[in-house]
Amino acid sequence: MNIKSTLSDDNKILIIEIKGKFDFSLLNTFRDSYNKYSEIPNTAIVDMRQTSSIDSSALGMLLNMQRYLCKEDRDIKIINCNEEVNKVFEITCFDKKFTIEKI
């Protein structure tokens, strides 16, 4: 499976791991990974350690996820991006919309 989604025990933190190319083909799988839970988690962490590349549809998907989880105290972190992915986030000013960290 390209996307693995795990929810922490206390239902507060959702971790989504993306493997390989993050593009339009993952459209529905990605949505399913966060909207299948009855209770909306507080924090979502998108782990891109195994993500090779992203295209602009991925950006759209992330923005849609942000809208779905939308509430002031809900936080979305994108972590472990490689250089290419970081570049894309940089020129699209995504670092201002999401918390991008390197753990």
Partner: protein, 395 residues
């Protein structure tokens, strides 16, 4: 011995001879021995005294003559020195004049040259400052004046807008795709419902068939019922057909939706690579521009400093040219001295011509002592011979 005789034969010794003869007479007349001895003593004393007096006078005469001869020869000597000096002084004075002329000329030329250099350096500096100004390229509002920089900034904005647009397009596309997905799910429900409807109509058909069979069994009385059952069968068939038609169209819709989804997917996946490359190139170009700007600015500032330093050096050179002033004054001093010397020599001539050696010698002596006094005064005044800034002695 012979000389002495010759001397004593001189007329001036006449009184001595007369005295001698007198004493001889006395000796021969008075034969007293003591008187003879006394007279002899007197004679010798007289002769000695006379000789002494004459020799002294002779000496005085000799000294006087010697002095006069000396004075004459000294003055003659002096005259010849004065002549040769006058002859030599003239070309020296001429040389001094020439020297002053040469110095003045050279100094003027040098000064002109340095002034020219200073002016050129000034102009160069102004040009440099202008270039710095232009390259700094911000006007009084702090906004960029350079067309290129303005263009670059505008391009940056366009690029940014393009990227934002791409992201927004992607965002909306994905949203639309999700909605379409929801529609697909609805359609699937529709299919399932249609399936139910088909089942219902099939069941209705079967029931109608059963009804027909029952009607046939009922015979005469079931004929009306058989007709109704038939109609129902017809209806259910039609319903089945309709169902199939709906199914077909819904399928078509779903297919179209899939195609639309794919298209939307393409829109959502617009190629970011061009934008990425463009932004990268752009950023590196801007930083390059910055670097060049800084380097040029630095270099021009250094150049400006060097110009300042040139100005300082030129200033020092021009001041150093004051040597001409000093040299000129020294030459004038030499000229003056020579001129005075010449004049003094000239002033002495009349006395020498007249043979008034005493006055001439007096004048020479007094002149020499006066000269010595002057030299002391002048030497004290010309203590420094180096031309340091602000240290020029005027005398």
């Amino acid at each position: 011995m012979l000389n002495h005789w010759r001397v004593s034969m001189n007329i001036k010794y006449l009184p001595a001879w007369i005295f001698t003869v007198l004493m001889m007479v006395i000796i021969f007349s008075i034969t007293e021995s003591t008187v003879s001895v006394l007279t002899l003593i007197l004679v010798s004393v007289f002769w000695t005294g006379q000789q002494f007096i004459y020799e002294r006078n002779d000496l005085k005469q000799n000294i006087k003559e010697f002095e006069t001869t000396n004075k004459e020869s000294a003055v003659d000597c002096f005259t010849s020195i004065a002549d040769s000096a006058e002859v030599k002084i003239l070309p020296i004075l001429e040389s001094m004049d020439q020297l002053q002329g040469v110095l003045s000329d050279a100094s003027n030329k040098l000064q002109k040259s340095f002034n020219g250099l200073s002016n050129n350096s000034d102009q160069q500096n102004n040009l440099t400052l202008e270039v710095i100004d232009n390259l700094k390229s911000t006007d009084k509002n702090g906004l960029s004046k350079l067309k290129f920089e303005i263009f670059a900034k505008e391009t940056e904005v366009v690029l940014k807008d393009y990227v934002e647009l791409t992201v927004e397009v992607s965002d909306k596309s994905v949203e639309a795709a999700y909605k379409m997905q929801d529609m697909v799910e609805q359609m699937d429900i529709m299919f399932s419902l249609l399936g139910d409807v088909k089942y219902l109509s099939d069941q209705t058909g079967l029931l109608a068939l059963n009804a027909s069979i029952e009607a046939a069994r009922a015979g005469e009385y079931g004929r009306g019922f058989a007709v109704v059952a038939n109609e129902v069968r017809e209806l259910s068939k039609k319903s089945g057909d309709l169902n199939e038609l709906i199914h077909k169209h819904v399928s078509l819709s779903k297919a179209t939706l899939s195609e639309t989804n794919a298209i939307v997917g393409q829109i959502a996946s617009l190629d970011m690579n061009h934008a990425l490359k463009a932004k990268e190139n752009f950023d590196s170009m801007i930083s390059d521009l910055d670097r060049v700007n800084k380097f040029v600015s630095n270099s021009l500032n250094k150049s400006s400093d060097i110009t300042q330093s040139i100005q300082t050096d030129v200033g020092r050179a021009i001041i150093a040219l004051q040597y001409d002033d000093m040299a000129s004054q020294l030459i004038s001093y030499v000229k003056l001295n020579l001129q005075t010397f010449q004049d003094d020599l000239h002033a002495l001539r009349p006395f020498l011509m007249q043979g008034d050696y005493e006055t001439a010698i007096q004048k020479i002596n007094s002149h020499i002592s006066k000269e010595n006094m002057n030299d002391e005064v002048i030497n004290r005044a010309v203590a420094s011979t180096s031309v340091d800034q602000g240290d020029i002695e005027l005398f």
